[in-house]
């Protein structure tokens, strides 16, 4: 029944079923009713971890060292307990930052570095090649074996059997076509492939069922349960050591390292990242996967040992333990079971190849080829409107190349190793991502250069200690380097680097590569500096759980720098906004605003600038509307208006307060100045008054002493002295009266009795009462009065005082005999002017204002005895000013003076009376 055509037909039938499932799932996804959005499918898709390695290789490994296959599954079981922290964080970050692959993740974390993304891609592709070759080897071997049914013939090594090479080539080509058809029909949004995930989940069921079936058959069909198999194996001398395998030297250390290695692999294998992170529909699916996926691994490993021991017991030497799963049912001619196992093997291999090459091709396309093409300006890729067909072509090409490279690796190095050993080389390669990846997820200080250095160092050590010996062992080139070390230095032997011997090759490589990797990553990170983008990305990645949805870093994808500038321009004015953005770009080392990325830093910068103008809450809301394209709610608008109006009102108040304060300060200063001036004037006045008072007092005292000391002085002399004393006393009295008068006037305490007064009468009275003085000095006085003199409202006695003072001054300064004083009254405008003109010595220009000040008399006071007190004109000016008029003098030295004053007219012109000229 198991003719070749049945096998081929069965294989193709199975593949066709996968396509049907994928097609159905895609259709459901388009209709919005995803079949993969449940925790069971998610857990089953994670089981893509179990490949041909698990299906065929575990038994081979178990037959070799008993428990060596188990850490590969116990490691992930332990790691998954930490997934609640690690993977959830990775999923959250990936969804926020729109991560599409492992390389994308690392590149994005370290400032979106294209170089780093490319390096990760190269390491992933080279590192995964052994793993892909493992699948090719397993599938082509199973083909070879099943085609020989009912005989059991090992394919042997490729040298002896070129058919295996050919088969492997066909398998590689077929898988390439298959993957292309599967994964690159269209470019999915967010690189998610619902159909593929559904098919993978189905494959996981098939391989589990097939393996459990063969396990049950071997354990309970060929043998009589677990006890029987282990019991009989324990009897065999060569198998007894497998009952206590950990007693071997270094076995526990190897176990521990293998556990660590697979803990890292379950996270960093590109296909695991793809299904666990990228294809994750909902975070909560993790809750079930955390226990269901380990349960799957436990189930698929349950019968590994019975099959291994069963095979060792049933077959003579010469049957490869890697084929026991298939050859055991074959040997008992269980055709149906054989076909099921064969299909299970294909499902394990194809599942891995599909997801792995799709993940790798995405990385090659997005992180290696496209960045180069976009930089290659001549191609002008960026200006193309639709790039999807180009993307698909690149991915298809990448899939073909990856599978062909896998085939080449199989040809070059695949034959010398068992399946698990080949796979472990790949595990060690992807483990190199751990420091940069986990460091980037939990340590903000990790830098781009640190990641580059760590990855490069780790990859170089991996290449030297694992890949190089693998090639050498296959006889691809001589073993000299492996046996004698590079340049013949024993310390540089790839498998015993620096003399570290006695360890499993993988363990040895892991120790040295991790030392190099972590050492370079940490030391370069600690000594280097981060760019702004790196810093913001580091914050986004490390603090993803503590960030709220409103953090700037999360707005990055939905806005642009120009949109922010426009926003700022709307509030700060376009010119100011342009200046700010240019300065910001300059501080980031960019030439223009166009190069700015709207990252968290820029958003917080914009927010900060806005906050200075419209308040923090409003700025946040405004930036949020641009960054998240949220409609602005009425509440926010009200808040903004409220806040802005408060700010404006407050600033207005401040401005007013400030102006008031300034005004108050100014008036206080003026008041202070005038107070100081008044103080000075008071001091001057007092000193002047005391001086003036002392002069007559000194005379009085001097004459009194003469009279007192000389009683025999003659009567005429005595009479003359007494006359002088009386005269000086009168002067003293007058002076004191005037001082008191002036003080009254200045303090405003003087009493004023306003009434309608007749100026003509006052002038006549004044001239009349001074006529005796004029006669005594021989000075003529005339009064020229108009026919009618309008009435003025004033204090009669005060006006009289002014007239008398001016007349007595005039007579004092007029020459005797030829003196002539003229008094005129004239109406002009709104007042009446009175002039008192003399023909005396006159007053020089510089003295004209001085004479109105207190105690200032013109003339040399040292040589001439002053004629008056020096207060008369000051008092006159006070009176005239108080009455609302003006007092001034016009004069030329030697030609006389004219003293004039005005008085305002009464509001109602009083009766005017004709007056006779005196």
């Amino acid at each position: 029944m198991l003719q070749s055509w049945v096998v081929v037909f069965g294989s193709f039938g199975y593949i066709a079923l996968l396509f049907a499932i994928a097609w159905y799932a895609d259709r459901r996804a388009k209709a919005g009713r995803s079949v993969i959005s449940n925790p069971l499918i998610y857990s089953l898709s994670l089981a893509v971890y179990a490949t041909a390695w698990t299906f065929y290789g575990s038994v081979g490994r178990a037959a070799h060292d008993g428990v060596g296959f188990l850490p590969i599954y116990i490691g992930p079981t332990l790691m998954i307990l930490l997934w609640w922290f690690v993977l959830r964080k990775m999923i959250r970050v990936s969804k926020l930052a729109r991560i599409t692959s492992l390389a994308d993740f690392v590149a994005s974390r370290y400032g979106k570095s294209a170089l780093l993304g490319g390096l990760v891609t190269v390491i992933a592709v080279i590192g995964i090649l052994p793993y892909i070759s493992l699948q090719l080897k397993a599938v082509s071997s199973s083909f070879q074996i099943i085609f020989r049914y009912p005989e059991i013939v090992m394919p042997g090594n490729t040298g002896a059997n070129p058919i295996l090479k050919v088969t492997a080539f066909y398998v590689a080509c077929f898988m390439a076509l298959f993957t292309i058809a599967f994964g690159t029909r269209h470019v999915d949004v967010g690189e998610r492939h619902e159909g593929m995930v559904a098919a993978i989940a189905f494959e996981s069921i098939v391989k589990l069922v097939a393996f459990l079936a063969v396990g049950l058959y071997v354990t309970f069909g060929l043998f009589d349960g677990f006890g029987d198999i282990f019991g009989r194996a324990a009897q065999r001398e060569d198998l007894a050591r497998l009952m206590t395998p950990l007693a071997a030297e270094g076995a526990l250390a190897n176990w521990a390292w293998m556990t660590v290695l697979s803990m890292l692999a379950i996270v960093f294998l590109p296909r695991q990242f793809q299904v666990a992170v990228i294809e994750n529909v909902e975070e909560k699916h993790l809750k079930t996967a955390v226990w269901l996926f380990p349960l799957y691994m436990l189930a698929i490993n349950l019968f590994v040992l019975p099959i291994a021991f069963g095979g060792l017991l049933a077959f003579p030497q010469g049957v490869d333990p890697d084929t026991f799963v298939l050859t055991l049912p074959m040997s008992r001619h269980m055709e149906g079971l054989t076909l099921l196992v064969f299909v299970g093997g294909i499902s394990a291999a194809t599942g891995m190849v599909i997801v792995e090459t799709i993940a790798l091709s995405t990385m090659v396309c997005n992180d290696l080829v496209m960045p180069i093409l976009l930089r290659w300006r001549r191609l002008n890729i960026a200006s193309r409107r639709d790039l999807t067909s180009l993307l698909l072509e690149i991915r298809r090409g990448a899939i073909v190349v990856i599978l062909l490279l896998g085939y080449l690796y199989f040809v070059a190095a695949g034959e010398a190793y068992a399946l698990v050993s080949i796979g472990l080389i790949s595990f060690a390669a992807v483990a190199q991502f751990a420091p940069a990846f986990l460091g980037g997820l939990y340590w903000k200080g990790g830098t781009r250069n640190g990641a580059l250095a760590g990855l490069s160092a780790g990859f170089a050590v991996w290449f030297y200690t694992l890949l190089l010996p693998a090639f050498a062992k296959s006889g691809w080139f001589g073993m000299t380097v492996v046996e004698e070390g590079l340049f013949g230095l024993a310390a540089l032997r790839p498998t015993e680097l620096f003399g570290l011997a006695g360890l499993d090759q993988i363990t040895h490589a892991m120790i040295w590569s991790m030392i190099a990797n972590i050492g370079a990553f940490v030391s370069v990170s600690l000594t280097g500096r981060q760019s702004a983008t790196e810093h913001s990305q580091a914050t986004l990645f490390v603090d993803v759980f503590t960030q709220t949805g409103e953090r700037g870093s999360l707005w990055r994808t939905t806005t642009s720098a120009s949109a922010l500038q426009t926003l700022l321009g709307r509030f700060l004015g376009p010119t100011r906004a342009a200046e700010l953005f240019l300065a910001y770009a300059g501080s980031r080392g960019l030439r223009s605003v166009e190069e700015l990325e709207a990252d968290a830093e820029l958003l917080s910068f914009a927010e900060l600038q806005l906050a200075g103008t419209i308040g923090a809450a409003s700025a946040h809301a405004m930036v949020a509307t641009v960054a998240q394209e949220e409609p602005l709610g009425m509440d926010e608008v009200m808040t903004i208006i409220d806040e802005a109006s408060h700010v404006i009102a407050y600033s207005h108040q401040l401005e007013e307060k400030q102006q008031e304060l300034e005004a108050a300060t100014a008036s206080l200063r003026t008041a202070n100045e005038s107070l100081k001036e008044l103080d000075r004037l008071k001091d001057d006045f007092i000193s002047t008054v005391t001086h003036e008072l002392r002069t007559p007092l000194t005379s009085i005292r001097a004459f009194s002493e003469i009279l007192h000391d000389n009683p025999d002085i003659d009567a005429a002399e005595r009479h003359r002295f007494l006359g002088l004393i009386i005269k000086e006393s009168e002067r003293l009295t007058r002076l004191i009266n005037q001082v008191l008068d002036l003080a009254k006037l200045e303090s405003g305490l003087a009493e004023w009795q306003s009434s309608n007064i007749d100026l003509a009468e006052i002038v006549n009275d004044a001239v009349g009462s001074t006529s005796q003085i004029f006669k005594g000095r021989g000075v003529k006085v005339e009064a020229h009065l108009p026919a009618t003199v309008p009435a003025v409202v004033a204090d009669r006695d005060r006006v009289m005082q002014v007239m008398l003072n001016l007349l007595s001054n005039a007579v004092n300064f007029s020459p005797s005999g030829t003196g002539r004083v003229v008094v005129r009254v004239e109406t002009e405008g709104t007042g009446v002017r009175i002039d008192v003109e003399d023909n005396g010595v006159g007053i020089s220009r510089e003295h004209r204002d001085v004479i109105f000040e207190k105690f200032r008399q013109v003339g040399d006071t040292l040589t001439q005895k002053p004629a008056g007190t020096g207060l008369g004109l000051a008092i006159c000016r006070q009176i005239v000013t108080r009455l609302g008029g003006r007092l001034w003098v016009e004069s030329e030295p030697g030609r006389g003076s004219v003293f004039s004053f005005t008085l305002p007219l009464a509001a109602l012109p009083a009766a005017v009376r004709p007056r006779a000229v005196a």
Partner: protein, 65 residues
């Protein structure tokens, strides 16, 4: 909320338990020349410990809402 926040620490606790299960010295102890129901102690121990761990995880994840 208080129940959900207990999930993390409990998982870490299980992780540490798992590290204890699948490491020296437990493995060295289990690596003995004896059988449990005909199965070598080491193999019986490994699968039993593994199964126990999975049951505990399932219990924590499904019971702690």
């Amino acid at each position: 909320m208080p129940k959900s926040s207990r999930k993390g620490p409990r998982l870490v606790g299980l992780f540490l338990l798992g590290c204890l299960f699948f490491n020296y010295p437990m493995l060295a102890v289990a690596n003995a020349r004896a059988t449990v129901l005909g199965v070598p102690v080491l193999y019986a121990y490994l699968f039993a410990a593994w199964a126990l761990l999975i049951v505990l995880v399932a219990f924590i994840m499904e019971r702690t809402e």
